[in-house]
């Protein structure tokens, strides 16, 4: 990773933390050169030249089937799809659900900030009830989708579904390691990571951390 690449994520975004921890895990497991990182077209696209890992963008909501295709073509690669809550649980829900149902041996990291960040902060399937966004100005009518819980009934018993948060680096590393090990064992893994988004939460400093910790009341960290 070069010091010369400008960090394009917003100040206070959770992505750099998550990506750097992923990089650390891959290095420790000596999997950097085998890994292929696919990105959604959302905030995750900014990771295209962030890690010393083969990385490519896919389409919004389509990282799961793309990585599935790559993995089936090159089974000894480590295929990781990185997407947001919208890409995973709205437009990408169908592809993700079926990959889980088929137990495709790929890893999907869902960076959950409860909004569509790149497009300005619109409502997503994980937005909280009554959360106000540009596209839910009167407050979100729905209740949030809890991804790992939602998929648990159709996942293989040896698949790994978990949730953690950007302010828990130890757990992130633990879960990402387990996720990759699960892939190596031939099963699907998904790690949802609650992530900071001061830009759209309109929070500053410690407010951002409080907002994140508050999300944990709804989105419970742990394994499924």
């Amino acid at each position: 990773m070069s010091d010369l690449i400008p960090v394009k994520f917003c100040n206070g975004c959770g992505y750099p933390i998550i990506l750097m921890l992923l990089n650390k895990i891959l290095k420790e497991m000596d999997l950097t050169s085998q890994t292929v990182l696919g990105l959604d077209i959302g905030c995750s696209l900014l990771a295209v030249n962030f890690l010393p890992v083969n990385t490519f963008q896919t389409h919004h909501g389509r990282v799961t089937p793309t990585m599935m295709g790559f993995k089936r073509a090159r089974p000894n690669s480590i295929c990781i799809g990185c997407t947001g809550d919208g890409g995973a649980y709205a437009i990408g829900l169908q592809g993700l659900a079926h990959a889980i149902k088929r137990d495709e041996p790929i890893t999907v990291i869902v960076v959950n900030n409860t909004v569509y960040g790149m497009t300005g902060g619109q409502v997503t399937p994980t937005s909280l009830h009554q959360q106000k966004t540009e596209t839910s100005p009167e407050g979100n009518i729905d209740h949030p989708l809890l991804g790992p819980e939602f998929f648990k009934p159709i996942a293989h018993k040896d698949a790994f579904l978990a949730r953690t948060a950007a302010n828990d680096p130890k757990q992130i590393q633990e879960f990402l390691t387990k996720a990759i090990e699960t892939q190596q064992a031939g099963h699907f893994s998904l790690v949802e990571i609650l992530s900071f988004c001061p830009t759209h939460w309109k929070t500053k400093g410690v407010e951002t951390i409080n907002y994140l910790n508050n999300l944990k009341e709804t989105f419970k960290p742990g394994t499924l």
């Binding site: 010393p52 295709g69 790559f70 090159r74 659900a97």
Partner: protein, 347 residues
Amino acid sequence: MVDANKKFITGADMAVKAAIDAGAQMMYGYPITPATEIFTGWIKNKQNFLQTEDEISAGFAVCGGVLAGQKAFSASSGPGHVLMQDGFIMAEGMRLPFVLFAAQRGGPSSGTVIYSQQEVMLACYGGNGEGMRLVYSPSGPEELYALTRRAFNEAWKYRFPAIVLTDGYTLKEKSIVDFSLINDVENFPAYPLVAEGQNIHWPNIFTSEEELNHELNLAKADFDKITPLVATSEIIQTDDAEVILIAHGIVAVAAKEALAKLRLENQKVGLFRPITLRPFDKVTLDKTVGGKNVKQVIVIESSFGQLARLVKDSMDTTLGKPFNYIQYPALGIEIEEMVSEIKKIII
């Protein structure tokens, strides 16, 4: 008395055989009439496959496979073709050798499950791009085989996604094919576009207009460079022709027979048959339409003018020959009907 080289075979099975002979390794598919038999035929031949939950997933899985260096492909039709263009345009943007069989059926919407030539625009310019893809339109099962071989080779050689544009009649038709007349060609090998340890960083989205404009110009330069090598057509009896018929695919099969009948009646009719729709063989088109005896051009298709648009778009605008159209959207055109329609409008 049966020649061992001859087989009574469907168009779909010819497509499957061509994909196998081309070294295709993986098919992602979804059932949709009339493309389903390409999928089931591939599967019956014990080839690697996956039925996905929809054509969107199939399209992106092909992209994933191709990125890893696998000769992956798919087949669809109609509303499925619409969804398949989602993954196909990522292939267009990233120059991925995605090969797709598009079997035209009636449209729009669910239309019919049978036949049309209404997916020409979708194949040639589908999605939100500039049509930087290779599109082949075979006439008959032997050409379906040959153009499928070309599609795999040229997609991988020139790094443009490719569509073999066929239709429900061609795929379901059973005919006798003499395999001793089928040419085998060398296969261009697939290779990993993302190699292990390569540390590639590959976007399909750009920050500024200038960046994308630059990328598009590079792609266009490549597309123009390969045009003389790829653009293909067939001309029949055009030297002294006063009327040029233009048709593609299975309609051209009928047009050839209509032409023969008209010639017997001393009508000086010729045929220009585009074999590639993208890139279009403009050079031969202009030469043919510009012929000194040519008084009229008649474009014949099972669509409201999708082929005609390609022709007019490619053609030298100074040629100034009058155009007429025989347009039967979603309907086959029998030889006798074609002859009768041509006679009605011949100048």
